[in-house]
């Protein structure tokens, strides 16, 4: 029983981080219909911005905030300078659907190259702000720690903020309308271009939080060549697909499901399945329910 709870809590924590990454992928997908592979590079860049901030102000929470703002600005800049132009120029022909996606792959390399130029390739450290030593129940010590608890709380707070924006504000209404049908939204007076930039900015900020929490969930060390960020992108992408790619709630459920299932497979089956389990889950979802757990058959309407 103890091991079960331990495994579940580990799964929820990593699932919460996957959920954030999935959310950042979904936000971009909803606003521009692009799968943004550069998100791994953007999250890494934002994490380095957080690392740099810690040099000047020794507060993790300030660093997190600065990383979010930096992530949002970078993401908005990518949308305005690259994606908007690309989507306009490649609106027809065989290249139309593929060009933006290939561009994000290229951008991923550019971002990784740029941060290596700025910060070098060596390991750096962001000390987790809270203890990573697990809580003790009786004589048993859990892997679940104050830091992991904080991760879950931060993710929940961010989700609450995002759903407040989406459900209760007129800008949230514009974000949803532009995702369902940009043409119809324009006709109703929504400035779809600005709304798209905002979608990318929100995605960048969310990815930044995912990056910093990912580092804090481990021992705090990372580098420009960190494998963890590529895995974060893949996990986020798989979680987004499980959730149906369209839905914010779906992304969260997809992230949690992926985190929990992977955690149990590693604990109860074999930890050598670490790289295989997420892909098996992805393939199963694609075979059994390609529209995702919350996706509707036939794609978007309106």
């Amino acid at each position: 029983m103890f091991q079960f709870i331990n495994t579940l809590l580990i799964g929820i924590t990593s699932g919460a981080i996957y959920a954030l990454m999935a959310l950042s992928i979904v936000l971009v997908w909803r606003s521009t219909r692009v799968i943004n592979f550069a998100q791994a590079g953007q999250a890494l860049t934002s994490t380095f911005i957080g690392f740099q901030t810690l040099h000047y102000i020794n507060s993790f929470w300030v660093a997190l905030l600065v990383a979010m703002i930096g992530g949002a600005l970078i993401s908005a800049l990518i949308e305005v300078t690259l994606m908007r132009v690309l989507l306009k120029h490649s609106s027809s022909g065989a290249i139309a659907g593929v060009a933006p996606i290939i561009a994000t792959l290229g951008l991923l390399e550019v971002l990784q190259g740029t941060i290596t130029l700025i910060w070098g390739g060596a390991d750096v450290l962001i000390a987790p702000p809270l203890s990573n030593v697990g809580f003790t129940i009786g004589t048993n010590t859990l892997v679940f720690s104050p830091m992991k608890l904080a991760i879950i709380i931060i993710v929940l707070a961010l989700l609450a903020l995002l759903s407040l924006i989406f459900q209760k504000t007129s800008i949230g209404l514009s974000l949803r309308a532009a995702a369902y049908s940009p043409e119809l939204a324009r006709l109703a007076g929504v400035r779809v271009d600005a709304v798209r930039t905002l979608g990318w900015a929100l995605s960048g900020a969310t990815g930044a939080v995912a990056g910093l929490l990912l580092v804090s969930n481990g021992n705090g060390s990372f580098s420009t060549a960190s494998m963890e960020f590529s895995l974060l992108l893949i996990s986020g992408f798989i979680a987004a697909v499980i959730g149906g790619l369209e839905s914010v709630l779906g992304a969260v459920l997809g992230g949690l499901a992926l985190g929990i299932i992977t955690s149990f497979v590693l604990m109860y089956v074999s930890d050598s399945l670490f790289f295989i389990a997420p892909f098996v889950i992805l393939l199963l979802v694609l075979f059994i329910r390609p529209q995702g757990i919350l996706g509707k058959k036939g794609g978007r309407r309106a």
Binding site: L161, L164, I165, K168, T169, S170, I171, L173, S174, R176, A177, Y180, S181, E183, L184, A185, R186, L187, A188, G189, V190, R191, V192, A194, L198, R301, A302
Partner: protein, 255 residues
């Protein structure tokens, strides 16, 4: 109609899709508080003309002025601010959103909250004002009780009413109605006729409609398009008796 009373004036509009000429030298004017009909057989170019005014189709040549000012060809998202609102053929609602949210979409031009403040839901008063406007527009089309239903779950006639409410909520100077009577029963059509007549006291209306009873009873003037050209224009009585119109609708044998 003298030029200085015109609200909207399109001149020499040409649109071609590949080799197909969709609109050819179309001239069209809508006066203030005037209800103008745009009719013609299927494929005559009526919706293309609407789409051109709405920035969905870019014409090859021609000019557009609104309130006697040349306005180029405005982008679709600029129409609401100019004072132009449009309903679409069919329904054209966001099925995933509620009825009140659908109507609030049309009132975005009244949202005074900046992007940052709106993102964090700071200005609740602004949100409430938009909701009140939307509620009032729904009352106008007798659909306030549907506020919290999902638009996708509405009956067809109810959807059409809500679509009209979304256009009205922006307080347009010019309302473009694209086949508003399509698919409606006699009772709803009667209601629609009364609504359009009422609206003409507050705004101008340009209407594309196949339902001749509606067009003939509510329009002050009518333009008839055929193969992308205006073949007749004038009062309903004039157009009804114009041999060119009769030929276009019923074929050469009608003469």
């Amino acid at each position: 109609m003298s030029t200085n009373t015109n609200l909207l004036e399109a001149k020499d509009v040409n649109v071609a899709f590949g080799g197909l000429r969709a609109l050819s030298k179309v001239n069209l004017a809508v006066g203030r508080n005037e209800v103008v009909g745009l009719i013609g057989p299927n494929g005559a170019g009526k919706t293309t003309m609407f789409n051109t005014i709405c920035g969905i189709v870019t014409p090859d040549s021609g000019s557009l002025s609104f309130e006697n000012q040349p306005i180029g060809w405005p982008a679709t998202d600029e129409l609401a601010n100019l004072g132009i609102a449009r309903t679409l053929q069919g329904v054209g609602l966001f099925p995933e959103l509620t009825v009140i949210e659908n109507v609030m979409m049309g009132a975005q031009k009244f949202a005074r909250t900046g992007l940052f403040r709106a993102s964090f839901g700071i200005n609740g008063r602004d949100e409430k004002a938009l909701k009140d406007r939307a509620h009032y527009a729904l009352e106008r089309v007798y659909s306030a009780s549907l506020s919290n239903s999902h638009a996708g779950s509405l009956s067809y006639p109810d959807s059409k009413r809500v679509a009209i409410a979304r256009a009205l909520v922006s307080h347009p100077k010019l309302l473009l109605l694209d086949e508003p009577a399509g698919g409606l029963g006699a009772q709803d059509i009667e209601w629609l006729n009364r609504l359009i007549s009422d609206l003409s006291g507050e705004m101008s209306v340009l209407i594309v409609e196949h339902h001749m009873d509606v067009v003939m009873s509510v329009c002050d003037r009518i333009y008839v398009l055929n193969f992308g050209e205006v073949i007749s224009s004038g009062t309903p009585d004039f157009v009804r008796n114009d041999p060119a119109v009769i030929t276009a609708y019923l074929g050469a044998d009608a003469q």
